[in-house]
Amino acid sequence: MPHILVDNIVKTFRIAQRRPGLWGALHGVLRREYRTIKALDRVSFELEPGELVGYIGPNGAGKSTTVKVLSGILVPDSGRCEIDGRIPWRNRISNAANIGVVFGQRTQLWWDLPVIESFDLLRDIYRIGSGEYLRARDELAALMDLEPLYDVPVRQLSLGQRMRCDLAAALLHAPSVLFLDEPTIGLDAVSKLAVRDFIKRLNRERGVTVVLTTHDMDDIEALSDRVMVIGHGRILSDSTLDDLRARVTRERRLIIDLLDEGQAIEDPDVTFISRSGNRVHLQFDPDRVPTAALISRITAKYAIKDLFVENPPIEEIISRLYDEHELR
């Protein structure tokens, strides 16, 4: 049996429409108009224990709604969902003891209390034994260098510090699943690296199953082999990152630093993308022309200082996938 099973989940929201302006507001008082939004439209997937899956999609695609259904916060209209055999919204309390959740935009720590007191409170709320608690806390503190933050009130933490503390807070009770809803949002580069590194270790060393929603493609590239793309409440793609690339576009980038600025590169198998100074960005299809053959042809013809081949950035792949499904 899979660790997490999601089968044909549908979730709709009814949202009151408001027309703009004062008249619109008054009109809304007299007669409400509702609009139904299908946040999840027959979403299905399975996760094995210890998997780390990246979950991406534009704003409003249904990422957070999926996480909220899995954590037992929202009740879907129809469909089946189980985590370790528990139905999240029906067995909310026992499911909650088994999962850890971080909503990146919000903190679960007590705003006015020092970090350590928030941790102590969570110990009591999750009924963690004091021995286990100290072991878990010290381990998390060592991994993310939290001890200097223990006595700082949460409102005084920087966003990066707060996120490290929030991650620890979600893990004190040693859950077997971790749901991370945009854990790197707004973080600086160093904090992002620290958070990614931590998530990776948690997954590799402790076998915690992780579902990670994000807008940051670097998160996906650094962390997950498996990527699910969602748009308009539907899973558009569920595969490894490489397969996703291969399916959406086979094209590669060829980036050349020329010795001579005035030169232009012309070849029947490449298309020109952009140029800045000596650097030229080109695109080619490795199925039409073998990479090695193309490179030797170009180096023979032009004076070249340096050259490298790249995959197109993942943002572009995703944006093409959205285009295919007319999500814009």
Binding site: I93, A96, F103, R106
Partner: protein, 267 residues
């Protein structure tokens, strides 16, 4: 057992400690309540001086009633829990649902601290001042003191159960301003904080006897000063108990409805 109640007592005591930090708010509330108390006492004195008809309560009892009310004003369930309100507005309420606890009991504990902590800070100094300088009387008898304490415990539970219901309505209204606007004058009036309830006409007494609000201020206060004899204390406590059971059951039902139709704000 200890491990069962632990989450709830922990959140109650944390909230209590947090509120005790707000000293400025406590001092401001203290000063305002003395001012208001003085005005209410003066109004009542003027009323008693202008009438020769026998009243259902002596002026000294009314004065004590008013000062008890000022000291315990914080117990009145006139608004939703501000912490839950902030959580609903920001969407942080989502975290409340991923805790392995009974949400109703959890919010009951939070709201109890929300009602008790500010009251705890203001009531004792205010009562001491009123006893020494403003004509408030001591409890009628040691027995009256004991029954008053028991009824005050009932009042705390009653008030908390009402506060939780107000907090749950936030799941529909989000802001809660409207609810406070509608509810607070009604509660003030029906609890006896504007005019002591014994001064209401007879037909109103029959309604007030049924409503739960009498159990928050009026009945415990009158036990304190012996206006309700100790032999009738059981009726006060029973009335409170019945309403606590009804309001807790209703609150728990309402919360289960609310969580089923939940829309978490933002993403």
């Amino acid at each position: 057992m200890q491990s069962f109640v632990l989450p709830y007592t922990a959140v109650l005591s944390a909230r209590f400690r947090m509120i005790l930090q707000y000293r400025a708010a406590a001092i401001a509330g203290f000063v305002t309540q003395i001012g208001w108390g003085a005005i209410r006492v003066m109004a009542m004195e003027a009323f008693y001086r202008s009438t020769s008809a026998p009243q259902p309560m002596h002026l000294e009892d009314v004065v004590t009633y008013i000062w008890l009310g000022q000291a315990l004003l914080g117990l009145l369930p006139w608004n939703p829990d501000t912490e839950i309100r902030a959580m609903v507005r920001s969407g942080t309420v989502a975290y409340e649902l991923v805790r392995p606890v009974n949400l109703y009991t959890y919010w009951f504990s939070r709201s109890m601290a929300f009602r008790l902590a500010p009251t705890f800070m203001r009531s004792i100094p205010l009562a001491v001042l009123a006893l020494l300088f403003f004509g408030m009387q001591a409890p009628a008898s040691p027995e009256a003191l004991v029954y008053w304490l028991a009824a005050t415990l009932g009042a705390v539970l009653l008030s908390t159960a009402l506060t939780v219901i107000l907090s749950i309505t936030l799941m529909w209204t989000i802001s809660g301003e409207g609810v406070s606007f509608l509810v607070s004058p009604v509660i003030y009036f029906l609890a006896g904080m504007v005019i002591p309830l014994p001064l209401f006409p007879d037909w109103a007494q029959r309604v007030l006897d049924i409503l739960p609000f009498r159990g928050i201020c009026d009945a415990p206060f009158r036990l304190y000063m012996g206006h309700i004899p100790a032999t009738e204390a059981w009726a006060v406590l029973l009335h409170q108990l019945i309403w606590i059971v009804i309001l807790v059951a209703f609150g728990a039902w309402l919360l289960s409805r609310a969580t089923r139709r939940l829309v978490v704000q933002g993403g």
